[in-house]
């Protein structure tokens, strides 16, 4: 059975290039130029899926983005793509596709029982049925998810490449049909920078394969000439296979371009490209969507949109049937009848209107097509394919039932319920739509951004009007960008008179609409006329609520096929005009886009920038694991001889406290502050007294938010009368600089202060431990490092090992310590000199974990670990840092009653009474061991480590009223065993009198 529905001639396919593909495991052959949908139809594959809820057999309905049924899983393994519309998948050699619904198979689908009991499965069925008992919901959910049968996401990394491109243009034309081509020509000829994007492989839109004539030539020749001219214009960019899927703020649009058709072949080529376009003007010419008609069983395989049938005949030379019934309420489907007749099909036209078509009526007479006016197709017979339709004469009164006494045998039902302009992008941009009574559709009204709609997207449905409208839009857009219009005429086509469509939102049946067989409005979501009527009866009036109750307009097509019909049915129930019901909100994306193209090349190594210190390679050579802090990669610990984290940290801690350790602290944020008003500025920003700091002094400084909460901390050094050096936390560097700049620029622009980020310019090496001084002396230092000449909390310029450095006597470990600040280019030399010279002291490099343990033993807090934006200096017992005789940011807030509550969570130390339990960080603290509900939470553990130097675990915690509760025993709630008793102690576990760091 080879392509039985393929016509012998015609179409835009390449018959010389057959392509093998498979669907649900069966092999087929199509041609280059086919879509998966046209190739399936050519092979007479009518059953392509099962519906979402009722699991009814479904066939291909449409030829574009609005296709509701032919939802495919394409490709295997890492490159598989779920939920593709077969109508939008270009055929390629070896393509493998599977239907995403139907279990165990398409023909025998167990869940089709849902259809047998279809009356039960009405709107809100899931809400009403699976509400109780609540305990059973997980079981319900498993079954519902399984039967919903969405496609499967790949589980391995995507092997394909994607990229992002930024572009600017004067005029972006969306859609390359007759209107879009005319617009692009007009704008391009005027000299504007134009981007023309069309989602299909070929330009032409509705003109592709048509017999229309433009400017006296066949449509195909006109398209070729137009595209040819556009490609010669330097400032015109042509993008095919490119879907404009988002219209964002300030004329920023996103386009997904499909470059490489075959997924997962790892050619190194870009698979898809995301264009981020800023356009001065936009012309929206995406055309219009044909609407289905809501008659009984209108979802049977073999019931298709008229325009889709014409597309399959003209572009792909595929005839989806041999005996067709065309059911319409407007003139456009007559063209499809002619196309079918020319392809050798038998055709009968059923027109709901009294008058039938205008011009085309005569031409169909010539072609001998019978036309029944004021008749309706009321029902379809056939389960896996159409076998006949029931037809009734109609009075024109939609509220009455009818009597179907005519039966016509056929294998194809072609329907046309009129046209809805694709107002999606116009609406995404914030534009309004109005109801056009003549055309029975929403058309774009006021725009919210610099855009205009043209052609069918603007409610201009004839070719002649499309060309004129597109040309005018292109000229006007170019003129708005300052380009004088070219002296050209709009392309011209023959005028066609059409009789207006008549509304037929719900086709009367032999029974009333709530009892008759299902009349589908939204095929993908199984939403029927009766469902919308039920929602209205149950009190839903707002279209957004009806959408969520009935699922109207969800899914891959987002209501492109059925929404307007559904809204009109709702309007009828509510007895209001359609425009009063309105549309649901149009949001990006217009059609689904892949995660791959959203991510672009920002994956793997390029996912996030990595910041490395100048000593990074040295750390790597020691096999240090790295901890990611912000974007920095910091050595976590330095394992020796198969040590684990715990073993290495215990050794590093002991060595540092016993002799000397060195650490790479280069990631500290560093800000250089200069200017005549530097003191005044810092007085206002920091809590301690700045003016009293003598040159050469260091101080611990904290920053508060204006709400009084701790924001960041660091060391401040006074390098000169008007010169300070600040450090910030590793993660807070950018935030703190921005915070300072904001106050300086917006509140105190009269202060003359200059802030410079020097984080990367200087590297910092901490030398900590009782032998630290001896180590520096051995490396060779030109200044007296003695405690009297260079006391704790001072800074000195020095030459160390022959290199210029600044030495800070500050300590984050509680030991005698020096922080060496050095030009980053020279950092490795100093580090290696320290390692070499330190051998006799067993100098030990340590990582972030040991740093954490050492500082926790001293009760030093880490911003973001002990604090969370709700912790005041009082809570941390930092009252001594608050300057009394000056104002500073956050000071007034500390006087608020809430900041003075005695039961605030305050920093304390915790000791496990069993002397061995290391509490997990985040552990909740409770009053009693026995859990009762509700259980008041006293606070939580913020830091917790095994202290090798002390020989027992230590923890820091924030505990309600903790400062007053030192000595008390409370409990830590653990998930895997009973709560354990812990004693509240001072947070300073080691050297409480701070003698070692002053040594």
């Amino acid at each position: 059975m080879m392509q039985v529905n393929r016509l012998d001639s015609g179409g835009l396919i390449e018959r010389s290039q057959p392509l093998n593909f498979s669907f649900n495991g069966r092999p087929y052959v199509g041609y280059a130029g086919d879509t998966l949908a046209s190739a399936l139809l050519a092979n007479d594959v009518l059953l392509v899926g099962r519906s979402f809820k009722l699991h009814r057999p479904r066939g291909i309905v449409a030829a574009g983005a609005e296709e509701p049924n032919a939802i495919m899983q394409v490709g295997r393994g890492a490159a598989t793509l779920p939920n593709l519309r077969a109508t939008q998948v270009e055929l390629y050699e070896g393509l493998e596709a599977w239907s995403t619904k139907g279990w165990p198979g398409l023909r025998i689908d167990f869940a089709a029982l849902n259809d047998t009991f279809g009356r039960v499965f009405s709107a809100g069925f899931y809400y009403k049925t699976f509400l109780r008992p609540r305990l059973l919901w997980p079981a319900y959910e498993w079954f519902i998810r399984r039967s919903a049968g969405f496609g499967t996401a790949p589980t391995q990394p995507d092997p394909d490449r994607y990229e992002h491109v930024n572009a600017h243009c004067d005029v972006l034309v969306v859609g390359g049909g007759p209107s879009g081509l005319a617009a692009a020509l007009a704008a391009g000829r005027a000299g504007a920078r134009v981007i023309l994007a069309d989602e299909n492989p070929a330009y032409g839109g509705s003109l592709l394969g048509s017999r229309e004539r433009i400017d006296g030539q066949r449509a195909g020749n006109w398209i070729r000439a137009a595209v040819g001219e556009l490609s010669t214009l330097d400032d015109v960019t042509l993008l095919s296979r490119a879907t404009v899927f988002g219209y964002h703020d300030h004329n920023f649009l996103t386009i997904s371009e499909r470059c490489e058709r075959t997924p997962g072949i790892a050619t190194g080529n870009v698979r898809e490209r995301l264009w981020r376009v800023r356009a001065r003007e936009v012309v929206l010419a995406q055309g219009a969507f044909e609407r289905p008609l809501a008659f009984c069983n209108n979802d049977r395989p073999g019931v298709m949109l008229a325009s889709a049938v014409s597309t399959y005949l003209r572009q792909y030379a595929v005839s989806p049937g041999h005996r067709a019934v065309v059911f319409t309420n407007n003139d456009s489907a007559y063209q499809t009848a002619l196309d079918l007749k020319r392809a050798g099909c038998g055709v009968t036209i059923i027109d709901s209107r009294r008058r039938g078509a205008a011009d085309l009526r005569m031409r169909t007479d010539e072609d001998d097509i019978p036309v029944l006016t004021r008749h309706l197709v009321t029902d379809v017979t056939g389960r896996f394919g159409v076998t006949s339709v029931s037809v009734a004469q109609w009075s024109g009164d939609a509220s009455q039932t009818v009597t179907s006494n005519i039966h016509i045998d056929c294998d194809l039902v072609v329907m046309s319920g009129g046209w809805s302009p694709a107002v999606h992008l116009h609406s995404q941009a914030g534009g309004r739509n109005t109801w056009n009574t003549d055309l029975q559709c929403f058309v774009p009204a006021e725009t919210a951004q610099a855009n205009r709609s043209a052609g069918a997207a603007n409610g201009k449905l004839s070719l002649r009007d499309c060309l004129a409208d597109g040309h005018a839009a292109g000229s006007a857009a170019a003129e708005r960008c300052g380009f004088a219009p070219a002296a050209d005429q709009a392309p011209a086509a023959e005028n066609q008179h059409e009789n207006p469509p008549e509304p037929l939102w719900r086709v009367p049946a032999d029974e009333d609409p709530d009892r008759c067989p299902k009349q589908f409005v939204d095929f993908q979501n199984d939403t029927s006329v009766a469902d919308i009527r039920l929602a209205a009866r149950e009190g839903y009036r707002n279209v957004e609520h009806v959408k969520r109750y009935t699922a109207l307009g969800f899914g891959t097509d987002q209501g492109k096929l059925g929404n307007i019909n559904g809204m009109a049915v709702l309007a009828e129930c509510l007895e209001v005009p359609v425009e009063e019901v309105g549309t649901t909100t149009f949001r990006p994306a217009y059609t689904p886009v892949t995660f791959g193209v959203c991510a672009g090349d920002g994956v793997r190594d390029l996912f996030d920038p990595v910041r490395k210190t100048p000593l990074h390679e040295w750390h790597e050579a020691q096999n240090a694991p790295f901890e990611v802090v912000g974007q920095w990669h910091r050595p976590w610990y330095f394992p020796q001889d198969g040590e684990d984290l715990q073993g290495a940290v215990a050794r590093e801690c002991r060595a540092t406290r016993r002799s000397v350790g060195i650490m790479d602290a280069s990631t500290l944020g560093k800000i250089d502050v200069k200017g005549p008003d530097a003191v005044e500025f810092l007085e206002r920003m920091y809590t301690h007294n700045i003016a009293k700091m003598r040159v050469g002094r260091c101080a611990y400084g904290i920053l508060l938010g204006e709400d009084g909460m701790l924001l960041d901390d660091g060391v401040m050094a006074r390098l000169g009368e008007q010169h300070f050096y600040l450090t910030t936390t590793t993660g807070g560097a950018a935030r703190v600089l921005s915070w300072h700049e904001k106050w300086l620029q917006t509140e105190w622009p009269n202060l003359e202060v200059y802030l410079t980020s020097v984080t990367d310019h200087f590297s910092t090496i901490a030398v900590a431990g009782p032998n630290g001084r001896r180590l520096l002396q051995k490396v060779g230092c030109d200044i007296d490092l003695g405690a009297d000449a260079f006391p704790f909390m001072h800074v000195r310029d020095a030459v160390l090992g022959g290199l210029p450095v600044q030495l800070f006597r500050v300590s984050f470990s509680g030991e005698l310590a020096f922080e060496i600040s050095i030009d980053s280019c020279l950092a490795l030399g100093i580090w290696e000199a320290l390692i070499d010279a330190g051998k006799e002291f067993d100098v030990t490099p340590y990582g972030t974990e040991t740093m954490h343990v050492l500082r926790a033993e001293k009760g030093f807090v880490i911003v973001g670990q002990e604090t969370d934006g709700s912790v005041t200096p009082f809570d941390l017992r930092m009252n001594w840092l608050l300057g009394k005789d000056k104002d500073f940011i956050g000071k007034r807030s500390l006087e608020r009653p809430d900041c003075r509550r005695p039961d605030r969570k305050q920093l304390v130390g915790l000791l496990s009474e069993d002397n061995e339990t290391v509490l997990p960080e985040g552990t909740q603290l409770i009053e009693h061991a026995r859990i009762t509900k509700p259980m008041p939470m006293l606070g939580h553990v913020t830091s917790s480590y095994m202290s090798a130097c002390l020989g027992h675990p230590i923890a820091l915690a924030l505990v309600s009223g903790g400062h007053e509760r030192v000595g008390a025993t409370i409990f830590a709630s653990l998930s895997d065993r009973d709560a354990v008793p812990v004693r509240i102690v001072s947070p300073v576990f080691y050297d409480p009198n701070n003698e070692r760091q002053r040594d």
């Binding site: 964002h248 300030h250 204006e706 921005s738 917006t746 509140e747 622009p749 000071k891």
Partner: protein, 87 residues
């Protein structure tokens, strides 16, 4: 993606900027003299208007300057960008 004009660098994409909230909030000269309610008003209360809004933006990935923007909170249309007054 808003298109924002930095008064120093010209029009740039929103991704280069950081939002800074309502413009024109002046820090009280003597916070200690304010009642808790007056202080809370300065600290927490913002206009949140429907329509024209004067707000602060920072060209964080550019020149690092803070400046003002007059933006419509409904249409997002930006009427103008302006440099802050220097006292």
């Amino acid at each position: 993606m808003l298109l924002i004009e930095c008064p120093w660098c010209g029009e740039r994409a929103e991704s280069e900027f950081v939002y800074g909230g309502e413009a024109g909030i002046v820090r009280p000269a003597d916070p200690a003299a304010l009642s808790d309610e007056e202080w809370a008003d300065y600290l927490f209360m913002r206009k949140n208007p429907r329509g024209a809004h004067r707000e602060l933006w920072n060209h964080a990935a550019g020149c690092r300057r803070w400046f003002g923007v007059e933006r419509d909170t409904v249409s997002y249309a930006i009427a103008r960008s302006f440099r802050l007054q220097h006292g």
